[in-house]
């Protein structure tokens, strides 16, 4: 590789304690970042700091620890609003992750907007978490769920997408970056088409957040969901962003403490967003870790991270091309740091086991995208997914592990 590195990779790797872990006598080569990413020391410390210096329940205590915890929590909300380009912090709802964010939108927006005969348009490359919640609310409302076709390259078939849009389309919900293939979808064009029909646009940003600089207002969507754990933050925390007027209009998701204004047996009135969608004691330290992850990513620069990852991915694609009988599934022109592949005569599950023995962590399976696997006629794939700390040397270990698998399984 000739071009200069985007940042000091060795220094960055030293920020992640787990990358020094040894597995069977070797450093772990962690190539499963699309499933979940590892955490830098700054995130771990930020979470500890809350518990050590300012932890109590939030928004209700008059005592100093509650005030500190509330400040930690709300400062994190403001930080995440800035990270995604929200107009105000009130548009940032803390959720457990993208799955909960999508369930919230499907349930609340679905009950608000969907009626018998209405349609929700998805795509054939959605994660199950952007399919099943819509099916559930469609069952309740009598709406129909449609899926736009995917091309052989693993791109969204935009003609097919446009053809499925109609005046019955009330909601369009699309993955920003495909977890299984790495495809970056043309969300600007999708937003334009959805708006023409007056449909609400929901984007699943679980895979986009660690790779793309987000500006939810410029994207032209109405709701955006992301997961902290995929962007180097803690697990169990994520963000749902929604346009303020919509968050005000749609009904709450869960009922309980914090989300009410007044409660009586005659009737209850709800708090304003974001409290309206945060029933119960939330994950208090999680947002602080997430905000620290946002700081960490912005400190390196997301464009620099993306540039580094693109280099590692391209190197991986060139190394994998040397493996006889290997086929990359998903060759979109716009791709994030994912290479999904199958190898003739070797089941992905067996590949995963062999690679694990070599200390190389990849994901194998259907990646919670069964319709997409069906589309490509494979039961499963192996997937290497890269993060800001991965190296070309780790890709070499992946390639060597694949050679071992071939030796073992090909007679």
């Amino acid at each position: 590789m000739i071009s200069a590195p985007a940042y000091d990779l060795e220094k960055v790797r030293a920020d992640f304690p787990i990358l020094s872990e040894e597995v069977r006598g070797q450093r772990i080569a962690y190539l499963d970042n699309a499933a979940s990413s590892q955490k830098p020391r700054a995130v771990l410390d930020a979470v500890d700091h809350v518990y050590e210096t300012g932890y109590a329940n939030i928004h209700r205590g008059v005592h100093v620890l509650s005030e500190r915890a509330t400040e930690h929590y709300e400062r994190s909300r403001r930080r995440m609003a800035k990270f995604i380009g929200a107009q105000s912090a009130d548009e940032v709802i803390f959720v457990r992750g993208t799955t909960e964010g999508l369930n919230l939108v499907a349930s609340s927006l679905g009950r608000y907007a969907l009626h018998e005969g209405d349609e929700v348009l998805l795509t054939g490359m959605e994660h199950h978490s952007n399919i099943v919640p819509w099916q559930m609310v469609a069952d309740l409302t009598g709406a129909k769920v449609l899926a736009a076709p995917v091309t052989d390259r693993g791109e969204l078939d935009m003609d097919g997408f446009a053809a499925l849009l109609s005046d019955r389309t009330r909601i369009v919900s699309v993955v920003h970056v495909s977890n299984a293939l790495g495809t970056v979808n043309p969300v600007d064009e999708i937003a334009r088409l959805a708006k023409e029909r007056g449909a609400y646009l929901v984007l699943d940003g679980a895979q986009a957040a660690p790779h793309l600089k987000l500006d939810v207002q410029a994207l032209g969507c109405d709701f955006y969901c992301l997961s902290g754990h995929k962007m180097y933050g803690p697990s169990g925390i994520g963000v749902l962003w929604g346009k303020k007027r919509l968050l005000e209009a749609i009904p709450p998701y869960q009922g309980g403490g914090e989300m009410i204004r007044t409660v009586s047996f005659e009737g209850t009135t709800y708090a304003e967003p974001p409290a309206k969608f945060e029933a119960g004691t939330p994950n208090i330290a999680g947002p602080v870790g997430l905000a620290a992850a946002a700081d960490y990513l912005d400190g390196l620069g997301i464009p620099e991270v993306a540039e580094h990852e693109a280099r590692v991915r391209e190197y991986a694609e060139s190394r994998l091309a040397e493996v006889p009988g290997l086929r990359v599934v998903g060759t979109a022109r716009e791709k994030a740091a994912v290479v999904s592949f199958v190898v003739d005569g070797v089941h992905p599950h067996d590949l995963g086991t062999v690679l694990d023995q070599e200390g190389v962590a990849v994901r194998t399976g259907h990646h919670c995208t069964q319709p997409l696997m069906e589309r490509f006629g494979v039961p499963a794939t192996a997937r290497a997914s890269f993060g800001l700390y991965n190296t070309e040397a780790e890709v070499d270990r992946l390639a060597a592990g694949l050679r071992t698998a071939l030796e073992l399984f090909r007679p």
């Binding site: 069977r24 070797v346 089941h347 992905p348 599950h349 067996d350 086991t353 062999v354 023995q357 194998t364 399976g365 259907h366 069964q370 696997m373 039961p379 499963a380 071992t404 030796e407 073992l408 399984f409 007679p411």
Partner: protein, 149 residues
Amino acid sequence: MNDALRDLYREVILDHSRRPRNYGAMDAANRQSDGFNPLCGDRLRLFLLVEDGAVRQASFVGDGCAISTASASLLTEAARGLPEEEALQLVENFRGMVSGEGEPDGASLGKLTVFAGVRDYPTRVKCATLAWHTLRAAIEQSGETVKTE
């Protein structure tokens, strides 16, 4: 290649995964059951011909990893000729061996002891047991797709 891998992928397993025995649908079958592992997408359909309370023939079709394919293939050989009760005992014996919950009874497991190494790979236990759960369902005629969950 390390010894742990050789221990898991024994020659017999590799051989049966490459050339599964008794592969194909069976017209004469009077029992049939489907198995599905939602975790990895492995699926198989097991066919049995049961006469006079014993398994006369077994065959399967399906799509899965080396462990699950070899397990199904060896199952079709092992089950043949077994009275239903003994086949069910073999299911338990096999499950005990690969899950590490039981001491394998080598005598009744015979060739199936090649799967003993699976116990060191907790994520692969379900691959090995899929066909066996499906055998139990076929014998008990539950008629439902077996899921390894």
